[in-house]
Amino acid sequence: MNYQFNWSVLWSGQSGGWLLRGLGTTLALSGLAWLVAVALGIVSGAMRTVPWKPLRVVATFYVEFFRNVPLLVWMFFWYFGVPPLLPLAIREWLFDHGAEFWAGMFALGVYHGARMSEVIRSGIQSIPKTQFEAAVAIGLTTFQAYRLVIVPIALRLIVPPATSESLNLLKNSSVALTISVAELTFQTRQIETYTARAIEALTAGTVIYLGLCVGIATIMAHVERRFAIPGLIARGG
């Protein structure tokens, strides 16, 4: 293989700007979708523990159906399938304001909300009942027990799986290129199309994703250690 590398294609011409804009779109898409996913995850995770059955059934249906179908199918469904059913005014507004971005964000958020829900539920369930009983025994009210004991422990338990789930969300945002959201992978492909430099373009995209993932994982590992309660929770639960 005698391939002549030409790394300058990454900053000459429009490529540099494309990469930066792609990175910006990836971060915006993932950030907004993450907020949706966390909100849906908390609501549905909590709903699955309430004593009223219809609520549990709705939440279980949401979690099982949405996390068991490929994200790509959801992207197509929300982008191609749903808008024709919306009222004309909403549809026009959407297509004037980047419908593919909003559909992609919604697909990503709703899909990962179902997965986040499982992370939150298993985090709460892994706290021993005795923690709550001990808190009440030393005179805390139920509210105080939750605020001072259960929630602080649950948050610490959830940090590692929630981090890896958030990184999955970030990596999965690349699937939005299929509905032509101009995120990082899309821009990488565009550079490849314009310059015919596949290896250089893919390397740039790969390095940026790796940097983001390794960076976030390192910061969160530090957070986990910084807030660990000595003797209570061994590393990694």
Binding site: F76, F80, S174, R189, Y209
Partner: protein, 223 residues
Amino acid sequence: MLDLAVIVNNFTFLVVQGLLGLGGFTGGTLRLAIPAIVLGFVLGIFIGIARLARAWWISVPATLYVEFFRGVPLVMVIFWIWFIIPQLLRLPIPEYGVALTAFVIFEAAYFGEIVRAGIQSVPRGQVEAATALGLTRAQSMRYVVLPQAIRNMVPSLVTQMIVLFKDTSLASIIGYVDLTKAAQIVNNREIRPFELYLFIAVVYFIFTYSMSRIAGRFERRLA
């Protein structure tokens, strides 16, 4: 409203071609998913064991492999294989080969982590007892550690198999005619996106959900 005729009329194409891969195109979700799961798991066993090796020149590359592929989107890996292999081998590779290679390489990193965690979950005393009985390291791995480790791995393995099964939909990006691509092809002609994508969502769901139910029953029996 819901036009189910589009599903009925194209049912054969969607299921026979898209799901099973027995139509005129090379394709099929199952024809890609099953070999990808088997080969990915086999490569994953080697990677998981390599990560625990005493020699650094085995464990460090295995660790780098896992960390690299877990930090990169699968879509990116598919594009890498799609561009690199034809350049390296100087011959065109069919979409099936590209997709299968990408899935095996990518998912082996995740399977490797599961295998490593499974092996580490076997108490040290088991290995010591095996050594005391006179088994070699390879024998104790083969007869003592792995049988117990695989039992502990079952839940995460099934989760990963479901993830891989869903991920095969990404092969449609490079033109492989799986279930998702088949729905796209039908939709281009019929323009019924809501019905078609909801239908394939239900088909995927039936497979993934029954996989997790069967695994749950299997797990209870092993426990």
